[in-house]
């Protein structure tokens, strides 16, 4: 039987979709999640002060999204609803980063295989350690593939280049907050080939030493103080 002339093989279709999504994600700027001594640091190269790429999901869980803003913003909101619902229905300690990351992975995977247009996003779900559990960093790609990262993770922009720099410079054990932020900014600057101003950075931490909600944004003045030589 003759195939219609517009037949595209599944392999080709997936490849095209993946290329399309990758192109969209690479257009943006990078975001780094890095473990430090008291939790996890999130640093984003983000010139906007109000359109956030990094945000709080629950007590010790945070979210970062790279790629198309409207798409990862939707995912962020869905994550907050899922977490708040679970915490309300059961208890606050039953909300876990792992279950959230799994949900995201399923959602992204379904959209990638079933919809015409894949989501042009890459996201991070990070959970600061509590009660002796280690930190968790999950990187979830546009096709739903999920990677459990250690020490640090990079998404968006020239993620691989940033990753290489961090791998070289990464210290053996978890650095202090100041050292971690300096390292992240150096890596972002080297790949962007320009000096980044504190106003152009979005920085937040999951700080284990806080009680209750661990997420805290770091103000521009604090970033400037930390980065000043």
């Amino acid at each position: 039987m003759a195939m219609p002339s517009y037949y595209v093989s599944p392999e080709q279709m997936m490849q095209d979709k993946a290329e399309y999504a990758k192109k969209g994600i690479a257009k943006g700027r990078s975001i780094i999640a890095m473990e430090y001594i008291d939790g996890i640091l999130l640093t984003a190269d983000n010139p906007s002060a109000s359109l956030h790429k990094v945000s709080e999901i629950y007590d010790n869980i945070a979210f970062a999204g790279a790629g198309k803003y409207s798409e990862f913003e939707n995912l962020r909101k869905a994550g907050i609803r899922h977490a708040d619902l679970k915490g309300f229905m059961y208890s606050r300690e039953d909300v876990t980063g792992r279950s959230l990351a799994n949900g995201y992975s399923q959602s992204l995977g379904t959209v990638f295989s079933q919809e015409m247009k894949p989501l042009e996003v890459e996201i991070l779900v990070v959970q600061a350690s509590t009660n002796g559990h280690p930190n968790e960093i999950y990187r979830i790609s546009f096709d739903g593939s999920i990677i459990d990262e250690k020490n640090f993770a990079v998404i968006g922009g020239r993620a691989e280049a940033v990753q290489t720099i961090l791998k070289d410079k990464s210290p053996g054990q978890a650095p202090s907050l100041d050292a971690a932020l300096k390292l992240c900014v150096t890596a972002l600057e080297q790949t962007a080939n320009q000096k980044l101003q504190p106003e152009g950075l979005e920085v937040a931490v999951l700080d284990r030493t806080r009680t209750g909600r661990k997420f805290r944004r770091i103000s521009v003045s604090d970033i400037r103080r930390i980065l000043s030589p």
């Binding site: 999901i57 907050i80 959602s107």
Partner: protein, 271 residues
């Protein structure tokens, strides 16, 4: 966009989300079987009821306090129930009415405010929080006809106005702001009588706490539903300060000191 485990929803309110997607979990009679005729004629269901809670403005903000007793008919259902809840960093609420739905409303309101703050990236205004609570009280109206009243007293520190504010409600969700003090619950009237006599503008923190505890003591004196301090078990009312610094719990030692002094003074009058 369809998400397998995340229903499509487009609103920053957790309460509305729950009402639409999980009606069985929300306040009011959503998703519950309507009361049948025999159920209705059986009269109100016997459930624990919580009583006297109050709030007083003072120079730094508001003190909010409540006794610890829950009653079920003529029985004491609980001696240590908590009726004053921290809602977020700038507000607290106290409840009177059927204990179960009351605590549920407080928990739902806490989640509501946190949810909004996370989705929108900024917290609701003090006024906005008070209005939202009014809508939740209104949603509970069907339950009132089954005898399950929930009556909140809401206090917040308004950061833009730099002052503490007190809001009271009626069962239809009507919201009214009080300028100085208020008390609700079965002993509310007795507490209000005491506050009316002793309230002054710009009380100090210590005097405001003293007045709050005195009012609760007098309410417990006249109202069987309100518990006084339990000296044997060491159970004292709950009190919180709502100020520009956030919410501070008053520790038991401080409450005990105020009560010891008050009771010594009363004892001396009896001899």
């Amino acid at each position: 966009m369809k998400l397998p485990y995340l229903p499509n929803h487009d609103d920053s309110s957790f309460f509305d989300f729950l009402t639409k997607q999980y009606p069985g979990l929300t306040l009011g009679s959503h998703g519950m079987a309507p009361a049948s005729e025999p159920m209705r004629s059986a009269g109100p269901i016997a459930v624990p009821y919580a009583t006297t809670v109050l709030a007083i403005k003072y120079q730094d903000g508001v003190v909010i306090a409540g006794d610890r007793r829950a009653t079920e008919g003529f029985q004491i259902a609980d001696r240590r129930i908590e009726k004053v809840f921290k809602i977020d960093d700038w507000s607290a609420m106290a409840i009177a009415g059927a204990a179960g739905p009351c605590i549920e409303m407080a928990k739902l309101f806490q989640t509501e405010l946190e949810h909004y703050e996370k989705l929108e990236g900024m917290a609701l205004s003090c006024e906005g929080k008070a209005n939202k609570l009014g809508q939740m009280v209104k949603a509970n109206l069907p339950m009132v006809f089954q005898g399950l009243v929930v009556m909140p007293l809401y206090v917040g520190y308004d950061v833009t106005r730099a002052e503490g504010r007190i809001f009271k409600y009626d069962i239809t969700g009507g919201r009214y702001e009080e300028s100085d003090y208020h008390a609700i619950g079965s002993g509310g009237k007795d507490a209000r009588n005491t506050m009316r006599e002793h309230f002054r503008k710009n009380l100090s923190e210590a005097d405001a706490l003293k007045l709050a505890l005195l009012s609760l003591y007098n309410a417990a004196d006249d109202d069987v539903g309100t518990g006084g301090p339990d000296l044997i078990r060491g159970i004292y009312p709950t009190a919180k300060f709502v100020t520009a610094q956030g919410i501070t719990d008053v520790v038991d030692d401080k409450l005990k000191a105020v009560y010891d002094e008050m009771m010594t003074a009363r004892r001396s009058r009896e001899t």
